[in-house]
């Protein structure tokens, strides 16, 4: 009896040790990720995956930039957080704003893990070139996410402003808090990352679904333009154009940009999705032919219809559907973008950097005086539009208007409008007439979103709220 008891108790005590040591079947411990080449490569896949989040390039980032402007209007079931964006009157506790912020910094944190830990990977088979390629892409993604944060939450149009963004370049502990950098330092960090990335990424690779070398130039060009460094913006745009890998599609073919199998020759960098890894774009902008306005979150404002009516012959008008689906007094909405069709597959990519934008960047940097009309007309020619001439575009102001219109015609529902207006300091002037009501008028401070209330609380006063928004 005693022996049995002792054996019994021994078995119990031995097994108890195992009970407390559980291993997760779904996760890998943080300490194990950067121990092999395969681990570092896996982290890079994870980094691209992080950008596919619903509140980043999975849909909400681009669409918010159009909704908080004259181009978009919201559908949805009395969804007040969408209403606020649509009305260009956002409260600090808006959950979309909060989720955008979190998605951006999640991607930044993931890139920081790669950048700071890849050199420590102790794996002899992991060559320096391979390391450089991964690190370079991570730096480019970090620059993109910082840049996206800056233009959504910082006074990106004013390099002397203190309202930049928190620039995070190290691995963060739970208790770490990073204060806002000035706009100038924010740009410096972004451009520095991109320049470093240029030295690291593969010299030959041009795969558009990854951050290839031309994509780095393209983003650099965009960042210089926003910063106001026109000469460098032009130089970087020329690097993209002269590379020759990517080029404009003509008026008969540019529809390929938006249809499967995607990755057209215009796409310098697009985030790819698949049926098993779906994008939110279709559900958010189209959903199904008979959808109601309450079913679709992001609709095109009637203003965009008027805009295209005033541009006769612009084939891009067909990319927004303003014709009611039937005449039976249907309550399906007017104004749905056609750029993200594909209701069964929902694999619409996020068009992050496209050739047409490069021409528009170069045109904007050059201005009328610098010969910007040439670039503008190159794009227009490929869209079947007659060239603009000095006869109609005689002043820089005319040129800016024409340029912004061209951008609106080309890039609507791709996440540019709100930033374009802010950069050219015409936000309230353009958006106001469209979105003002008797009770609320759009101001220039609405050109960026507030720092989320939750972030203000969690950082214990380390962050300063954007001007115009309540500070409590």
């Amino acid at each position: 009896m005693k022996k049995i008891a002792i054996t019994f108790l021994t078995i119990i005590f031995i097994s108890s040790c195992n009970v407390l040591d559980q291993v997760s079947p779904n996760d890998v411990a943080d300490s194990k990720v950067f121990t092999t080449k395969a681990g570092a490569e896996a982290a890079l896949v994870g980094l691209y995956s992080s950008m596919q989040a619903k509140y980043y390039y999975g849909g909400f980032y681009q669409l918010t930039a159009d909704l908080n402007s004259d181009v978009g209007i919201d559908g949805g079931y009395q969804n007040t957080v969408l209403d606020e964006l649509s009305n260009v009157s956002v409260s600090t506790s808006n959950t979309i704003v909060e989720n955008l912020w979190l998605a951006l910094y999640y991607t930044i944190a993931t890139s920081n893990a790669i950048i700071n830990r890849i050199d420590g990977v102790n794996d002899a088979t992991f060559t320096q070139d391979e390391r450089n390629s991964i690190k370079g892409q991570a730096m480019a993604v970090r620059a993109l996410a910082h840049f996206d944060a800056l233009r959504m939450f910082g006074e990106h149009w004013n390099t002397s402003s203190a309202y930049g963004i928190p620039v995070v370049t190290t691995i963060q502990k739970a208790t770490d808090i990073v204060p806002r950098s000035s706009v100038a330092s924010s740009y410096a960090a972004i451009i520095n990352d991109l320049k470093t990335a240029l030295t690291l990424v593969d010299k030959a690779d041009r795969t558009p679904v990854y951050f290839n070398r031309v994509a780095v130039w393209a983003l650099l060009s965009r960042a210089y333009l926003y910063q106001g460094d026109k000469a460098n913006a032009i130089a970087a745009a020329d690097s993209v154009i002269n590379d020759g890998t990517f080029s404009l599609l003509d008026q008969n073919n540019f529809g390929k940009i938006y249809s499967a199998p995607y990755q057209s020759q215009e796409s310098i960098f697009e985030l790819t999705f698949s049926i098993q890894n779906q994008s939110g774009m279709n559900a958010l902008t189209y959903l199904r032919p008979s959808a109601l306005r309450s079913d679709v979150y992001f609709l095109a404002n009637a203003n965009l219809d008027t805009f295209f009516i005033n541009r006769p012959g612009d084939p891009r008008a067909a990319l927004v559907d303003f014709s009611p689906n039937d005449n039976d007094f249907s309550i399906t909405p007017d104004g749905r973008s056609q750029k993200y069709r594909g209701e069964t597959t929902r694999d619409n990519p996020a068009f992050i950097l496209r050739m047409s934008e490069i021409y528009l960047i170069k045109a904007e940097a050059e201005g009328l005086a610098g010969g910007g009309l040439t670039e503008l007309n190159t794009l227009r020619a490929n869209r079947g539009m007659a060239p603009l001439t000095g006869a109609t575009i005689s002043t820089e102001a005319d040129f800016t208007t024409a340029l912004l219109d061209e951008r609106k015609a080309e890039l609507n529902f791709e996440g540019h409008r709100m930033f374009d207006l802010a950069r050219n300091k015409v936000f309230a002037a353009v958006v106001g007439p469209v979105k003002n009501t008797t009770d609320y008028s759009v101001s220039d401070f609405n050109a960026i979103l507030p720092i989320p209330k939750q972030e203000m609380i969690a950082t214990k006063g380390a962050l300063t709220q954007n001007p115009g928004y309540p500070t409590n």
Binding site: A29, D30, N277, L287, T438
Partner: protein
Amino acid sequence: MKINRYCLLLAFLLPLTLWAQTPVVVTGKVTDSKDGNVLPGVNVVLKGTMNGTTTDANGAYSLPVPASSTLVFSFVGYQSQEVQIENRTVVDVQLVQETSELKEVVVVGYGTQEKKDLTGSITSVNNKDFKDQPTTNVAQNLQGKMAGVNITTTSGTPGASLNVSIRGASNPLYVVDGIPMLSESNSTMSTSFDLSGTPVGSGQSISSISDINPNDIESIEVLKDASAAAIYGSRAANGVVMITTKRGKAGRTKFSFNHYSGVQTPTRKIKFLNSQQFIDLIQEARANDLAIYNKDNTAFGQGFDATQLTDPLHYGTTGVNTVWLDEVLKNSPISNYELSATGGNDKTKFYAGGTYFDQSGIVINSAYKRLSGRINLDHQATDKLSFGLNVNVSHSRNRRSFNDNTYTGIVTNALGADPLMPPYDANGNYSDYTLYHTNWLSDNPIRSANEIIPYTTTNRLLASVFAEYKITKDLKFRTSWSTDYNNVLDEQFFSPLTTDAQAVSGKASRSVFEQLTWLNENILTYSKTIGKGKLNAIAGYTMQETKSSLSGISAQGFPQGSGLQNISSAALITSASATGTSYGLVSYLGRVNYDYNGKYLLSATIRTDGSSRFSPSNRYGVFPSGSFGWRISRENFFGANETITDLKLRASYGLTGDQEIGNFQNNSYWKPARYNGNVGLDPRNLSVPVTWQSNRAFNIGVDWELWGGRISGSIDYFKSNKTNLLSNDYIAGTTGFPTITRNRGEIENKGWEFTVNSVNISNDKIRWNTSFNISFIKNQYVSLSNNGLLLSAYNDGNPTHVMMVGQSVGTFWAIKYAGVDPANGDALYYDQSGAKVNAATITFDAAGVAGKAIPDYFGGINNTLTAGNFDFLVATQFNVGNHVYNQIKSAYLNLGWSNGGGLDGVYANNSVESLKRWKKPGDITNIPRASFINQNYNNFSTQYIEDASFLRIRTVTLGYTLHPKNVNWFTSCRFYASVQNLYVFTKYSGFDPEVSSTGSGDPRTAGYDYAAYPQPRTYMLGFNLSF
């Protein structure tokens, strides 16, 4: 004879022992020792056998037995008595009534105690208090019956989970016959999805406690204070609910067949405008707007097209007037069949039972069916060794109501649906809702109900085997091995007719959750009487492990018209997943109870738990507690008091713990992530060292009894502080994560509990008992690492709740409504400066604290009356001071707003409350002016936060018991008629003031109503047959 067939069936199923051979027939009469009344139905059993009988209507019995043997007499409410026959042939017996409540035995952790010896705060409820009620979840039967225990129904969904809050702390630990159960919802279909299919909230969950048949339960004990609960240390911070199932009793095998059938009817249906009133509202809204436009033609922005205000409305009354709630809410049947047998001899005892429960939901196409069986067996092998087993198996199949309480659900779509739209068109097809005039709809609700087919199927096995060995006279060892196996299958099919799956020609998903828990407990018990002192001590070692897996697959594209729903017939697999998780727990426990002379009672408990959820360095937590009881009525100085017959003072203090953080939060992990056909890893979480949350609890109480139990009761004061809260705490988003699991913050619960039980009338004809309980609880955050953080019940809307020091858990956060401007009918709100502004101007930045989901006080009054063969019961429950955020109401009180839909349709139909709207200058009302273009209301304001205090008449039952004189095939039969949820007294305007659309999972976002499935009223008839 139907009954006899059941007998035959049981005869095959159950072991029956042979009747003993004997020369003597003993007869006699059993009477009450006090009043001498005869007692019918008393069990008379030959000791050590199952040979026995029951007394007839005259209290007489007759039983053939061996000449020198012992008879055992037992009867509910009386003390059992053993009588040696000693060659007599007539044995009359007087049974002594158990009047005093304090003599009850209650189940405590790892043992039992007499109620008089308790030093902790424990509330006990017996089977008689909850039997014969048409519920799937036993907790529902306890509503309003226990002081300090607030149980609220979150939804009328069959099988829905309940929010069980013990002294302000939600989600207690359930222990069934010693097995700590998984109580959280485990159906993946509890998720609410938004339009793009992204999960937005936890939605309505299904309780896993509903796998236990309420009528198999003998008693339920709730351990409320630290002293009582500390023996379950690690998981007892929110209290412990101990469920003890019925066990066999020696004696003749007794069968019992119970049945009830009833009908459930929808109650408190919200009334909507009819077609004409609906059109009138739209016309009035347009006229109001036109008046404004005519005054100032820029009022709606530049370029506003006024034709939508002036063009004739192209839809008029067509004779169609659909009352949508009547289309989706129907009377529906409920029934239950139950057969059980109990018996045994003094060596082997058994209880066996089987139940079939069938409930159709009042929402069309929803149903819950459960088949369950139980066997409890005890065997005394030798003088020293005994063993036994408990097995509970259940199978349930639940046809869910799709997206219960979220945007696209059936009830949600029926609220505010267009009265001009018929359910079916002229061809008998579902009406195409896009051709009608409310854009709130996401589908024709009838189509959703018919064409979306979601089922949850659960198979559950709860089993344990145990053995007990008496090492010496005073020392015994008990070991038990238990398992809880749970398999949940969720299937969902969207036919190609549904809006959700039109574009993809049908879609389906299927997921399987499987969980296995095993538990081993080894307990040494030592009991000894030393002089006037009685010592009882236990020491134990337990360990358990839980492993679960979840796999799911979704597909789309089903062959048209084939009727096929299997994933294998789909064109494309859109997602597949398989994950798993596990945790383990190892515990050492000890308790010493010492009773000196029945006057001074001491108890000390300690439990040490180690959990795999924490890192090795801070894995173990120690949870001690101590309590003291003083039976003042036993003191000499108290003397023989005729009035106060029992008086006991209790006090306790102790620690309990909590480890509910989910598995694998103690380390930073990376999770699988996909891009461009490759799989990689991205960070899952950030971690800091975490350890046990600890709950410091103090309790002082008095148990009293007057006139020998005529009136008795308890008074308790308690204060408990949950410290080192294990919470998802907010951190700077620049870390990459919004939250981290860490020990931060403190919640305090304090309050008073009063219980009074009174025997109002007790004579040989009538017995009338009343019990009353009321609890006052103040719950508040004492500290938080991020004070003032806002939470959203559904994460795609504005915040709805706040966590703030000094406020209670589940405090609402909303814009403050300032009423209607009598001059122009504008809805007004207080902005941050306190000025009144209209709906277009107000922003959510002006929101503030706006009421709470937790009541100030709650309780219940229960009356039972027995008169002759009749019995009558009325049970009520009340909650006072709680609020509900009636968010859904803003959709159906939109006052003719078009939601940009232009002339083709407005947002939704309105409830009749809209008839009280402002119509002309000078109108004093709380309902604003109708407006077509602008939303003249704010759905995140206190306009929709309502007082949800209520008094509910929960159960009314009338029964009649038949004791047949000349029939020998049954001993008694009780017929009864019952009404559940007879009436609710409340000011709340939604379906039901007891609601939580986010289920029972998170008390921080409780009290939010998004069209939860309404609770029905149930009329039923039933009978209990014993034979």
